[in-house]
Subunit: 196 residues, 4 copies
DNA sequence: AACTAACCGAGACGGTACGTCACGTCTTTCG
DNA sequence: CGAAAGACGTGACGTACCGTCTCGGTTAGTT
């Protein structure tokens, strides 16, 4: 979201922000990511295209903002074990991955990685946040004495989230069985870490 | 690839098929997925656009065909243990995932999931093949007595490939450390299965 | 010319209308009717193709508008005789026929008659106007007592303009001798009418 | 029509010539000049495109040959007066002009004048032949003593044929009234010439 | 109360790529 | 070697979408 100049001129209409998000989400569901056009969003929201581009630099930024909730994920409450904490983290992220249609995630990921700026923001907003949460959880395990030292976070991240991600986005797997997968993976990663 | 009518008229020039693939791959590397144009492919290949559209219904089909090699993956030689076999499968697939620039994979996945037909072909060509290979490997483990019965293949698939996939495509992780990740994951999945 | 909605949105840039006409005329002279392309017109005019297709439904409409000046021919001043009036009318029309390269006239006539809508507009713009002028001139002759009643206008039209048209477009005749032909025809038609 | 090499190889199938002409004429009537395609002619005739291009250098040549009958117009029998002879010539040519749909004539004329070679052939086949016939008729009038010397043929040609041409092709006039127009014009031209 | 600066909807703008179509040529198999 | 079938390079077509810009008009805060 681009910032308006403060305290001069007419202020932005706050209803428009909501209307853009709503129209974008509706059209993503109705037509899919590839067939979403800015003109259609503007028409559906009953606004002009300029109102969109005053707020977002590109179509991708708009979709990014409309799709991705504000994601201020916090470390889960201490469950008493690394395994339980990892399962909690994994469940939260899995829930986010199922909050948008799969083709939207694919399209967005492609566009994000095609654009340096957006890619950096995505990384900062999601990846780093998730790894911060993971780090907290792992530090707890160290404090508990479950593991000797904090392992490489990115590797743990990949082992924990990768299977869920793949299941949902590549295999197009059943969303109900994600819970099972999540539990299995958390167990598996925890025991691998503890074993070392 | 659209099929020509057999034995009537001038046959398709086989060199053109190769030239399209070559030009597409070169341009994907040089310009990236988002900036690939059909006109540029035709120009680079020294052919007309019509020759492309005679073979592929859309630009995406063309890229799919040019990117996705004929992928007739076979089960790896028996390594003597489930863990060794899983590691071999995982290494092979990881090698394929690193054979194209990452933005190409993202773009292709997005386009594949935006188009039902292409999605089905992708599933048939890759997912099913990988799961066939995995099934073979798991059956060996059953025969060996490592595991009691063949588990759900898709779940194993997700656990095995998901981390590598996530590491490479989402985290943009170091390609050299994929080997470490692969080994860790294979070990982890194997021991989870054997334990049961 | 397609009409813009009035008083909403950005108004059409009037300079573009002129630039399209100018570029079209230049390119018709430089390359001829058959080799005129819409892309070339847009490039020459320094505009996008969309700006052309926003104004004209087809390439032919564009050429029609660019070629056919607004043609608000008025009856010539009363020369005192039917013969003089007819000669004046004929000279005016002959001048219009020589204002564009001959291949443009051929191409335009062909396209006009290939498209019902354009044909109707051509008829309304040109034929009816010319016949209105002819009707005025003939009415004067009736008032003068040169002829008893107003004859069939279309027949007179054909007799008067046909020879000049044929001379210029079919015979590819010398443009300097059109004056002689015009005078001869006007004399001939006038005496045929007066004789009756 | 391009000549085959004589006495070598397989002779051309004479039925094909007829089939091309028939298919061309049918499609001209059904779809009009602008929408006639060589592929459609070949398909309708049940032949290959190569068989067409073996006979005609261009699409226009094909249409020219298919539309225009072999036109070996001879001077009409002596009617005893210039006026009668001119009327006969005019009637013959008018009949030819009505033998094809009007849009075909427009299209063909445009293409003829866009191509030097075809334009020359058209001129030789039609214009010169018509002027030869006119010359013969005018010579008769000189011999008869109706006129003193042979006037400029092209000018007479334009005066005589122009009105009919304009009536049929530009005005889209009623074909039944062409007879009246023909008679009027012949009378008018004859008396203009005799008067001098 | 007037001024001013940024807002608003609507839609035109330059640019770029798409997928289609037709031309006239070329290349195969068959007779 | 002619013919049917159809692939080939070329090049224009008309459409669609992007992100920008320009209208007339609206809506605050500042003079």
């Amino acid at each position: 979201m681009q910032e308006p100049k403060p305290n001069v001129g007419r202020p932005r209409d706050g209803q428009i922000d909501g209307a853009i998000v709503r129209a974008t989400r509706e059209l993503l569901v109705e037509r899919g990511y590839a067939k979403l056009t800015v003109d259609a969003v503007a028409a559906r929201a009953g606004i002009g295209k300029a109102a969109i581009y005053r707020r977002f630099a590109t179509k991708q930024e708009m979709i990014f903002a409309a799709t991705v909730h504000d994601m201020q994920e916090e470390p889960p409450p201490d469950s008493g074990s690394l395994r339980g904490d990892l399962a909690a983290v994994c469940r939260t992220i899995a829930a986010q991955l199922t909050s948008a249609p799969p083709d939207v995630l694919h399209g967005l990921l492609a566009d994000i990685h095609a654009d340096t700026g957006l890619g950096a923001r995505f990384h900062g907003t999601f990846i780093e946040r998730e790894q911060y949460v993971l780090g907290t959880v792992l530090d707890r395990a160290v404090a508990r004495g479950e593991i000797a030292s904090r392992p490489d976070i990115a590797m743990v991240h990949a082992q924990l989230i990768g299977p869920v991600f793949f299941w949902l986005l590549i295999l197009g797997g059943d969303r109900e069985r994600v819970a099972t997968l999540t539990a299995t993976v958390a167990e598996s990663v925890a025991s691998t870490l503890v074993k070392d």
